[in-house]
């Protein structure tokens, strides 16, 4: 039953870690841990939420032990890919790169809400934080990603179009 959730765990892990191999390692560790501790899950409660809690713990503990992995940033020139006649700035930059710029705590909240479509209460339970913290992390993460996608972030100079 646990293993039926593998595809969703993999999607979340992929977005969280940006690396297919690392993501599957994380999913494997989480599933094995969940399997070992299956007694901890209360029958009748949301199994998916519990699995995400387990994965969150495995992930955060892993981060604590390891040195953070640094990923080289690549400039994405959007000159060629910008759809013509479309004014919206969204989609010009790679959402994956923007996501990687967020602090882990904001990235987790954003992905649980946007990808997993969890309720804010569920996210609070999964991450073990108050719902107010969920909201403020969601807001900061979204606004930061939004500005990044629109090229308004202060961290790096906005990309220039090359004709």
């Amino acid at each position: 039953m646990l293993y039926e959730h593998a595809p969703r765990l993999r999607r979340y892990a992929r977005a969280l870690t940006r690396n297919a191999e690392t993501a599957d390692d994380l999913v494997q560790d989480s599933l094995e841990r969940a399997w070992r501790k299956r007694d901890r899950w209360e029958a009748g409660t949301d199994l998916r939420a519990w699995l995400f809690t387990v994965m969150h713990n495995v992930y955060v503990n892993g981060l604590r032990r390891r040195r953070p992995e640094t990923v080289p940033m690549e400039e994405h020139d959007c000159a060629d890919t910008q759809p013509s006649g479309q004014e919206r700035a969204m989609g010009c930059r790679d959402v994956e790169v923007g996501l990687a710029l967020l602090p882990t705590e904001q990235r987790e909240v954003l992905l649980l809400v946007c990808l997993e479509e969890m309720s804010y209460e569920q996210v609070a339970t999964v991450l073990g934080i108050p719902i107010g913290t969920v909201m403020s992390r969601l807001h900061r993460g979204r606004e930061r990603l939004r500005k990044w996608m629109a090229g308004e972030d202060q961290a790096r100079p906005a990309l220039r179009r090359i004709k």
Partner: protein
Amino acid sequence: MQTPLPMDLQELHAYADGQLGPEARARVEDRLAADAEARRQVDDYLDLNRLLRERYDAVLTESVPERLRSPKKRVWRPVAAAAAGMFLFTTGFASGLWLQNHGFDVMGEGDHVVREAAAAYAVYTPEVRHPVEVAADQEQHLVTWLTNRMGARIHAPVLTDQGFSLMGGRLLAFDDGPGALFMYEDAGGHRIVLTICLNEEEGKRTAFRFAEHEKVSVFYWFDGPFSYALAGEMKRTDLLNLAESVYRQIVS
């Protein structure tokens, strides 16, 4: 701490995420009709949601690798295997029987307890000014605090008969969540630590086990909600004497 996100902003997020009831949704829609900035904000949030799903939904339909399909004995990866190997090496001599009986599989259940206890010992006992977070003169406060954080009753065993007095304790961050540490000192300035962490398999009980990690001797055991580890740089028999006293006081 941190100021809560204003309600009107919370509602914009909840609107974009489809987490509002009909009434609140109508209220936000009225507002969006009149507020171009808020409208842009919500549109961007919706775009972000869509972009994230477009980017990652493909993973859902990928075929799941074999290793993620069913519970299996794990294939140790190099780092984990190296760590486990070291543990085997350091504990192998002391508790050969136990390892012989259980082989490699047993690694999962005790290594982190030993590692955490030895690390806590190494990090905190050399501290001159701040060896503990809450000193023994506030023992009641310390015990209440740690009990609340650990979710089950904890108390600091008394080891004065063995010549060790309580210095105080602190909260630790362990793999599974909070851990508790009590530190003791004898007249000669030798220190030992008792660490308590959540028992992975709640309710499991074990006999004493002994391990040595970088010159630090550790006796540990699992009992009810917690695992306990007593760590110090002393002869095994002396430490065992202390561990037995701790064990008796916790059981009773």
